[in-house]
Symmetry: C2
Subunit: 194 residues, 2 copies
Amino acid sequence: MGYKVEIGVSNKHLHLCREHIDLLFGKGHELTRLKGITQPGQFACEEKVDLEGPKGVIKGMRVLGPARSETQVELALTDARGIGVKVPIRESGKLEGTPGGCRLIGPMGSVELTHGVIAALRHIHLSAEEALEAGVSNEEIVSVRINGNGERALIFEDVMIRSGEGHFREMHIDTDEGNAAGCCTGDLAEIIKG
Amino acid sequence: MGYKVEIGVSNKHLHLCREHIDLLFGKGHELTRLKGITQPGQFACEEKVDLEGPKGVIKGMRVLGPARSETQVELALTDARGIGVKVPIRESGKLEGTPGGCRLIGPMGSVELTHGVIAALRHIHLSAEEALEAGVSNEEIVSVRINGNGERALIFEDVMIRSGEGHFREMHIDTDEGNAAGCCTGDLAEIIKG
């Protein structure tokens, strides 16, 4: 049996840089922690923004904190098509050459994004100890089997390991991927190739 | 190498029974053929209807013809969640015990559905000759690898073979599944376990 990891199905969300927080929520605004998420130091915020694309608007998208050096919008491909934007599959934080083409709308102002709209590359967070135990290393690409509810089992290839300081065991997939596997947050995934 | 099949990514759509065509489009209305689809005798219609659930409406969902003995609405799980309905994964035509909870709205009237709203079980259509060549039989469950664009390769388990008269080689998955695999209609899938 392979190493087991709990799944977290990520709904569309975004991370904001300091400048964009100022523009959307007012100069010097501090993000309000709603609740912690599994990854240490990160949190869901009270703040939400609208995302306007060429063909539609996503209302009330959740902001995750803390502030980052660059704004990053993470959509499932279904979400992206719904507002008429074409987004690449990217590792979080690797935003070079990614498209913008959307406008963020907050209570105090709006921002035209020039880049940073992506679909997240599916990945597994592991602490250094957990990676050792699983026999995998940071940035390794593995395959993962998900049994889901037993009606839509599948094996995801192209799953990146993200391991080290600040990571806690959890597999992140988006809503399209969660639905394709018939699984929910809290279900287990199994690393079958390390 | 396994047997190769072209993928068709199915967008949300519906099939209508005679009674519901009358109620939505007027007594005796005949569905208007827009264009043929890959499966012999079936066609996309000019007609569209709105689907209203407890939490939202999907506007302009495409009707597929010809008329069937029972109305069947096929949604991706993302679509279903968007309008607030929970749907089971079902083989097309096997509608016993499936939920309704939605209203179809056409130009001449509306219909409260008592059942028939599903997410389709992923499946492969094959003619009898193609099934023989692939080494699989009708209703067999197989696994299928999709390389997609090479960034989101995966292996779908729980794929049903539907073979015989009236079937033509094509793998049907929904938009969630297509996005999870990073693939499009026309890409190739490979049966890796017959």
